[in-house]
Amino acid sequence: MKNIRLISVLLFGIFISMLLVSAETISYVQPDNVTGAVKDTGAINVIAAYYLGYRLFDTLFEILVFTVAVQGVVYLLGHIPTLEQHKPMREKAIIIYTDLIFGASLITGMYIAVAGHISAGGGFVGGIVGATGAVLVFLTMPMEDIENEFNHKYMAIWEAVILITIFILALIPILKGMSPMENFLPLGTPGHIISGGIIPIVDTLIGIKVLIGAVTIAQTFIKHRGVF
């Protein structure tokens, strides 16, 4: 077995060195991608203009990838029995601080999500930032409290509803005689928080969706595996 691995590492090495050698022959063409994007989408963050404007189609699938992974993790981990020995940290100071951090991270995450079209960030990052705070709270809570406050069923329903809302937002333009995934709301003044048509709306929805999904993943892992 060792020999076989050695041979494949050698082959891989040869291939990579060939790639490095032939990288000289690859020219570089920088297309003019920046001008016009703001006029088209109303978002001054051109990356967001691509991410949620021109290539919204990819982003829809990206959300689906995340959802599929969450659903798969929940389903597959459901096979193993839940762990009895979740031992939360119950010191008062830790509880208060984690709660504070949770609140702060939710607000930060929300801001990052909503302002995705005027500064760096966006829905995905915002959602995960919020979820990180929630994970801290999980360390201090008994399992029943976690299950009551972050109820699996309600979270699943919300997740599905938000997903459907995003897809409907992508489909509405057809009814107005435009092509699907077109930005059908007024674009507003670039640079303001209310601008960019559907981009901030979709960003917010993605943020909430990702928050729920990441919390679900973390909760399932903790439920079946315990923390640390």
Binding site: V29, A37, Y54, F57, D58, F61, L175
Partner: protein, 485 residues
């Protein structure tokens, strides 16, 4: 909603996508049946409307040249029809069994990714489709909580993630070189090393021999409907992307290595299948062999064969898989004691006649088209492969049947009807004295081989993870070397 909504190719994807989360919200059987049929009917309607105005180009969001380029043409028509049919019939079959709502959620998203792969012309979009559909496949294979399934799935995950990361690197380098991700706008020469990095992951996805030894374990361990979906529609995704790339600078000179690999795959697949005793693995090895035919056939005849293969392979997986689930035996010797009931055996035979290329069945059409449009060395290899197909399919037929009450099973009937209809409708394009004699000779020689040569057990050394990686690397370097010369 008025009837004159303008129709777009992207609707093919957005419709299953929109309905998919509903499967998780409403978990009763009745609603799930309704939703499934709604998705299939809407998709078929959209395909019908699109055929009236094809070929049709769309840039997503209406942003010309900046949105993602989608195109609906003949190739897309064949493939989307196949995907909708296979997934629709699998749903039909799954309602009799106890599948969780997650299955419907995943398969309807799978349908939308497959549809997208049939219409997209964007290299990065293709990457997303490759990854999403593979993620769905990992979960579907691992749905049974058995460590063998989990290991098959994990093995597949590692090798394909490795490959797709390489594909993404190639996409990045192509973007750097040409300044675009749109296949139809790529101009100029692409260095061969990038082409090989781009092509081999697609070959892995299409399930041809040296790079796809994940396929037998995954396809044979999965439940019946999942096997049918995987073999019938999922592996076709790589082939359509390759066909899309054929007339572009990327693949202009690169078709030789693909043809060679395809021919190798066609032959090796049947050899491995003949020496196998697990019935579902026989079918999985046939997928490897038949995908060789598809890729050797090129965008016209290959696409037709992909359609035909999807239909008869899912019929075979339905019949054999149902039998295996009913009796619990995978081994062909054990199955000889638990024979097929009559109503299942008939459809098994129809599927076998289709895959063996007997006149009046669909396999005959596309196989003879491919054999007649390939250079002479390819002809010899493909005829040998056909002989092997007949020989190893005779093993399945030789299990035999027992008398039973007649049952009408709708998904069997749909698939069998398509096989026979295609076989009769297009027969005038290929029929000649020579093709008939050829197919008769193939059948006779195949059955003789089945009677004379006894299969041997081949150890599964090619399916080890380390060996799979080395197969992948070897193919990569071979493709690069052929292109470089």
């Amino acid at each position: 909603m008025s009837i004159d909504i303008q129709i777009y190719p992207s609707l093919l994807t957005l419709v299953p996508m929109l309905f998919a989360p509903l499967f998780l919200l409403f978990r009763t059987k009745l609603v799930q049946k309704l939703l499934a049929s709604l998705i299939i009917i809407l998709d078929l309607l959209i395909i019908y409307r699109l055929t009236l105005i094809m070929p049709l180009d769309e840039y997503t969001g209406g942003w010309i040249l900046r949105g993602i380029h989608l195109r609906f043409d003949n190739l897309s028509l064949i493939y989307t029809l196949l995907f909708v049919t296979v997934i629709g019939t699998s749903w039909l079959s799954s309602f009799k069994k106890n599948y969780p709502p997650l299955f419907y959620f995943l398969t309807s998203i799978l349908l939308s990714t497959l549809n997208t792969s049939a219409i997209t012309l964007d290299l990065f979009n293709i990457y997303v489709m490759l990854e999403l559909s593979s993620i769905i496949a990992y979960i579907l294979i691992a749905m049974k909580d058995n460590w063998k399934h989990l290991w098959a799935s994990l093995k597949y995950l590692m090798i394909s993630y490795f490959a797709f990361t390489m594909y993404l690197t190639a996409v990045g380098l192509i973007y750097m070189h040409t300044g675009t991700l749109d296949i139809s706008r790529i101009t100029g020469e692409i260095p061969p090393i990038i082409v090989s990095m781009l092509i081999v992951p697609l070959l892995l996805k299409s399930g041809v021999f040296p790079v796809s030894m994940w396929l037998p374990a995954a396809h044979s361990l999965a439940p019946t409907e999942v096997s049918a979906i995987l073999s019938g529609s999922f592996v076709k995704m790589g082939s359509i992307v390759i066909f899309r790339l054929i007339n572009t600078p990327i693949l202009k000179q690169a078709y030789t290595p693909i043809t060679l690999i395809a021919l190798l795959s066609a032959l090796t697949g049947v050899i491995l299948a003949y020496n196998e005793s697990n019935v579902k693995r026989i079918l999985a090895f046939h997928t490897i062999s038949q995908m060789g035919y598809v890729l050797a056939g090129g965008p016209v005849y290959g696409a037709l064969h992909a359609f035909n293969h999807g239909i008869f392979k899912s019929l075979l997986f339905f019949t054999v898989g149902d039998q295996v689930e009913e009796t619990g035996h995978y081994d062909i010797k054990a199955l000889k004691h638990a024979k097929f009931p009559m109503h299942r055996y008939i459809f098994l035979v129809i599927g076998v006649l289709g895959i063996s290329g007997v006149p009046l069945f669909s396999g005959f059409i596309s196989k003879s088209m491919i054999i007649h449009h390939i250079p002479i060395y390819g002809k010899v290899v493909l005829i040998l492969a056909s002989v092997g197909t007949v020989a190893s399919m005779s093993k399945l037929v030789s299990i035999g049947y027992r008398k039973s009450s007649i049952k009408l099973i709708p998904h069997y009937i749909i698939m069998a009807t398509i096989i026979i209809l295609v076989g009769i409708r297009y027969i005038e394009h290929v029929i000649s004295l020579w093709t008939i004699i050829e197919s008769l000779i193939v059948i006779i020689v195949g059955i003789t081989i089945f009677l004379v040569i006894h299969p041997k057990h081949i150890p599964r050394i090619l399916e080890k993870l380390d060996i799979m990686v080395i197969e992948y690397m070897l193919t990569l370097i071979t493709v690069w070397a052929i292109l470089y010369m």
